[in-house]
Amino acid sequence: MSIKDVARKQLEVIGLPPATAPERPHGLIEPILYPFRRGEMPEVQPPVGFFTDTSVCIGCKACQVACKEWNLLQAAETGLSGKSYDNTLALSAEEWRHVKFIELFDEMPLPPPPLKPTANFDDFDIKKLLDEPKVGHWLMMSDSCKHCVSAPCQLACPTGAIVHTEFANVLIQPDICNGCSSCIASCPFGVITRSAADGHSYKCTMCYDRLHDGLEPACARACPTWAINFGPIDAIKQQAEARVKQLQDRGVSQAYLYGDAATDQYSALHNFYLLLAEPGVYGLPDQAANPHNHLAGDYLRAALGLLLALAVLVAAFALVGG
């Protein structure tokens, strides 16, 4: 009995219904016709997304594991990377969540040699002590697909596999994708890769299947310190703004939101972050640019090159050959 059979048997025992979806298209004709069938457009729902507050992330990786568990993603064979506690290193077709760790420390001066014991507490400037900043940073961030409002991957996908769902998140339909890698080339955040196992591209789905049952994505569910907040975009934006203000009022002036609002080069993200350092520190682009901003211009220039060439050609033929 294979593991698959064992698992199926377990499901029967639990009483879950067998899969009601149709079988994978077999034979010669079915696989050709299959992708052209269309279903019903689902009803548009209020857009939802993630607000990830990295200031309370403890780097526990529960999000990473929950995502793997829910989506039954293959475990990768990693080795000790030496890069703090990050052995995963990047998002990929098998890693839809990736926790990053950034250690940033001063040179720590050794305390000077011991003094005579003193009982005089007046030697200590309490106010200065209480005001001194904490030494050292260990920043942590749970990276995933940004679910861009205007997603370059979705714009570039030639098969229509990548869509914005009724929840406004970005989804790669795995039964349509043929692994052309246009999406991979387009993503400025380096989210998508192609799976070596089946040649299709994968990324975070925002647990689209869970959204249908009114559940939040597995990562948000698992996050113990509520770093990953999931909900309607308006609500989490409000929450994010309040949190940034709270931090700044407490003197954490470096806190800011990344991706909550559109810029002139890129749309807003439905997976936006509260960060405590420049985006480059987290391996994020300082200013993401949507490559499709150049689409029209590049086509025009291409057309120009072509028309010039054809004009020259036609002129030469007419001149010499005519």
């Binding site: 990768a76 030496g82 052995n87 305390p111 200590f124 989804l171 339909q173 039964d175």
Partner: protein
């Protein structure tokens, strides 16, 4: 837990972790809470968002430090000194919560004139170097008692002004005077400013309007001075008035979801269930009557025990009920066979005649004196101190039964140990019994906050897997069958054991009904079988049976298993009062009488929890009062009052005969009534606070495989410490068999500072060998600035941090750090000192023969179910999903 038990009365976490949301300042020390308790770490996170200050004092900069507002680095094993510095700051600056301290602690109590402590040595008066115990002046740690009228029990003599030089407060002040900021900095390797800073933060966040909490776990307990470190924290919290208050207390974070349950329903060799004293094989406890009359606390003196048992006062306070607890327990075990005529079976209980704690019996095992061992989800081959000795010891057994989910290092110690002998020469017969996982069995879990939660069985265990309960039940049945015909007196215990927990509704015969067990734990009236509704119904005449007195009331009738409750309503104090059931009596904050002032009014509106309602004539509030409900705050006991009637209306610590929190413990702690900083057994540094290098009552376990390096040994100049990491769980027996977790942390590593790396010529990810007198291991080095070199006693102190959760079985294998650690027993708690010992480190690898062999298991194939597809109604363009 003995530190908490002796200070307050119960050896358990005083507040529930969610209560940290109510704290104004949280000190996490001896714990890496974000790492090991990530789910519970939500509460400090929320507290911070409300403005609380989170402080982390630790040898490393950890995940908790990343979240904390203040981080202080100290040397492993120096925690007591740091806390001592805080105590000194409090008393020297008069920052203690005066009214609380005077009324609720024994600060005012006058001590015996014989009491003394010599700062030059670090020893208390009455130390006997020959026996290495304090048996020369056995009364010197006692209170001065003023005799009561007409033979009534004496009351402690007190000075409420706290001025008498021999009152506890002044003794405390003198005792901690040497712990100046500079001295502490010298010992700990931190700055003097750090002590002052942390102390000041705690002080300004304590008092009527504010409370501070301390959270600790194995970073405190796993030291030779572990219980005393906790005692120091208890002193801090009592002085600041944080015990029994919302957002205060001492959160003892347990390392497993059911450790509290495991110690409640005992796996402690020296207690009967629920921390009843274990009878000793001594004339003083020869009969039940003797035992009940003499009764002693769990902290017996060692060595010559003939005369060394402290008498616990069993006339005042809740321990007056010892007869009720004990006899009900015996009725639960022996049922009708236990009668008044046969001392309720007292003679059938084994009596303690020596130290049979885990490490001690492993030493015996190593000498071939133990025949067999049951391991229920336990992996001493990786988790035990001096793991090499543990592995070797297990190979001397005749038989070993491992009940586990995987074939762990311990289950495979006879053939898979890379340092082990040829399997053909190992005589041990090993039985690996498959265990059911948590979702495959029903039962309860008792967690850190004493909360008992029931869980149901979601699926039946596959194949031959069974729950631990089933195995124990079946073993018991077979034993009873074996001994049924025996007429020997020594077999009476087994013959008479009540052992009927059959689940009649189960499909398979022999399945135990966990609720039947719960019923026995809860207790019932023997005549009628009616469940007990509370511990108040316990009787000492054999009319009640109760397996666990603290759990009485959890199952008040057959329809209501209160541990099953799932009511999510939360009250203003943040208590989910109807979710599960906590002992005692569903009080969530222990000693919560102390949340009100001596007159019964809350100390402040902001910090109210329970208070006296004059109109109703009872205590009320947001928590179940852990106090006699109808005793008014003004109640003063009559001179000859006994039991709980002897506890005044303003005495929150009813398990103590004087109803007070103990800054000074007159008994219960074998190595001293006040904490003293000693160095760990193995330390590169000499004790800066006295000539006594390490705790005099630490038991060193003699064994050829357990040599200890002498203090200041130049061959082992580095300080080693061990710890967990979030991605793996304890010894890795579950997590290193899980591909998804292995992917996150695939290998063993040690963490060292860049300075130490440079000194040893080690670069990030190079192989290094860490060695102690006991063994050597090789691992990759993670060179990180989160480790800092410290300056201790004027010279650099380098710390080598090691994950201890790796072993030779699983998908990820690596060397076990515990083969390096020493075996020793802390006084009172018998816990190993594995968080600070001496080691050496060099670049390079061990020879080929010592490499951990490539025995990693191939990853188990993932279940290949089709779940990546989106539901078909949900595809805006495509329509059908397909299954493979």
């Amino acid at each position: 837990m003995s530190g908490l038990g002796t200070s307050f009365g119960f050896g358990a976490c005083t507040n529930f972790p969610r209560d940290l949301v109510n704290s104004d300042c949280i000190l996490v020390m001896g714990s890496n809470m974000a790492e090991s308790h990530p789910v519970g770490f939500l509460w400090p996170t929320l507290a911070q968002q409300s403005g609380a200050t989170l402080i982390h004092v630790d040898p490393r900069y950890t995940r908790t430090s990343a979240a904390a507002d203040v981080h202080v680095t100290i040397r492993p094993g120096a925690d007591l000194a740091f806390l001592g510095g805080i105590v000194r700051y409090i008393v020297a600056n008069n920052r203690h919560f005066e009214e609380y301290v005077v009324h609720y602690t024994n600060a005012a109590t006058i001590l015996s004139p014989e009491y003394g402590m010599d700062p030059a040595t670090g020893l208390f008066a009455g130390f006997n170097p020959a026996t290495s115990t304090y048996d020369l002046l056995p009364e010197s740690w006692d209170y001065v008692m003023e005799p009561g009228p007409d033979g009534a029990p004496a009351q402690p003599k007190t000075d409420p002004t706290l001025q008498d030089p021999q009152c506890v407060f002044q003794v405390l002040k003198r005792h901690f005077d040497p712990y100046t900021p500079e001295t502490v900095a010298n010992i700990c390797g931190c700055r003097p400013e750090d002590v002052v800073k942390v102390a000041e933060l705690l002080c300004r966040n304590s008092g009527r309007e504010r409370t501070s909490a301390i959270a600790y776990s194995l970073g405190w307990t796993q030291h030779g001075t572990g219980p005393q470190i906790i005692r120091t924290a208890a002193i801090v919290q009592l002085l600041l008035g944080n015990i029994g208050r919302p957002g205060g207390g001492i959160i003892a974070l347990r390392g497993h979801a059911n450790v509290q349950g495991a110690t409640d329903i005992p796996t402690l060799f020296n207690t009967l269930p629920n921390y009843l004293p274990m009878p000793h094989a001594l004339p003083a406890q020869a009969t039940l009557a003797d035992y009940l009359a003499n009764g002693h606390s769990s902290g017996a003196r060692r060595g010559n025990v003939d005369d060394g048992l402290w008498k616990m006062d069993v006339t005042r306070g809740s321990w007056t009920n010892l007869p009720k607890y004990t006899i009900s327990l015996l009725k639960a075990w022996y049922g009708d066979a236990a009668t008044a005529g046969n001392e309720f079976g007292y003679q059938w209980i084994p009596k303690l005649d020596e130290d049979l704690s885990e490490m001690s019996y492993f030493i015996k095992m190593h000498r071939g004196q133990v025949k067999g061992l049951f391991l229920f989800g336990q992996n001493p081959a990786v988790g035990g101190p001096n793991a090499r000795l543990q592995r070797d010891a297990m190979r001397k057994l005749q038989w070993l039964v491992a009940v586990d989910l995987f074939e762990t290092e311990s289950a495979s110690v006879w053939y898979a140990d890379p340092e082990g002998p040829d399997p053909k020469t190992v005589p041990t017969e090993v039985f690996l019994l498959p265990a059911a996982a948590i979702t495959e069995k029903e039962g309860s879990l008792t967690n850190t906050e004493r909360l008992v939660q029931w869980h149901d069985r979601a699926v039946d265990p596959p194949g031959d897997c069974h729950s631990d309960l089933w195995y124990v039940y079946q073993v018991g049945k077979r034993l009873k069958q074996l001994y049924a015909g025996s007429g020997l007196a020594r077999d009476a215990a087994i013959r008479n054991l009540t052992w009927d927990y059959d689940d009649e509704a189960a499909a398979q015969p022999g399945e135990p009904d966990a609720e039947k067990v719960l019923r026995e734990l809860n207790g019932y009236h023997t005549a009628t079988g009616k469940h007990l509704k509370s511990a108040g119904e316990l009787a000492g005449d054999g009319s009640t049976a109760c397996g666990s007195r603290l759990y009485a009331g959890i199952f008040p009738d057959p329809e209501h298993n209160l541990a099953r409750r799932l009511d999510g309503a939360v009250n203003p104090a943040g208590i989910f009062a109807d979710w599960g059931w906590a002992w005692p009596g569903n009080s969530r904050v222990l000693y919560n009488r102390a949340s009100a002032d001596p007159q019964g009014r809350p100390w402040s509106e902001r910090k109210k929890l329970v208070w006296w309602d004059e109109a109703q004539g009872r205590w009320t509030g947001d928590d179940v009062p852990q106090f006699e409900t109808t005793t008014p705050p003004t109640y003063q006991p009559a001179p000859d009052a006994t039991g709980m009637a002897a506890i005044a209306g303003d005495a929150p610590f009813g398990a103590h005969f004087d109803g007070r929190g103990w800054l000074f413990t007159p008994f219960g702690m074998a190595d001293g009534p006040l904490p003293v900083h000693y160095e760990p057994l193995e330390s590169p540094f000499m004790n800066a606070l006295g000539s006594q290098q390490s705790s005099p009552l630490t038991v060193i376990l003699q064994d050829p495989l357990n040599p200890l390096s002498p203090p200041g040994d130049p061959d082992y100049p580095l300080v080693a410490t061990t710890y967990r990491i979030t991605e793996h769980y304890l010894s890795g027996a579950m997590s290193r068999f899980n591909s998804w977790l292995v992917e996150l942390q695939p290998a063993m590593f040690v963490e060292i500072s860049p300075a130490l790396a440079a000194a040893r010529g080690v670069k990030n990810l190079d192989w290094v060998v860490v060695s102690t007198l006991r063994d050597e291991i090789e691992a990759r080095a993670l060179v990180t600035e989160r480790m800092q070199p410290l300056t201790v006693e004027g010279r650099p102190a380098h710390v080598v941090g090691m994950l201890w959760g790796f072993g030779y079985r699983g998908e990820a294998v690596g060397e076990s750090a515990n083969v390096l650690s020493p075996m020793s027993l802390s006084p009172d708690a018998d816990i190993q000192g594995t968080k600070s010992f001496a080691c050496q480190l060099r670049a390079g690898r061990l020879g080929d023969e010592r490499h951990v062999p490539a025995l990693p298991m191939a990853p188990l194939p993932l279940i290949d179910l089709p779940v990546r597809q989106t539901p078909w109604a949900g595809q805006p363009e495509g329509s059908e999903q397909h299954v493979d």
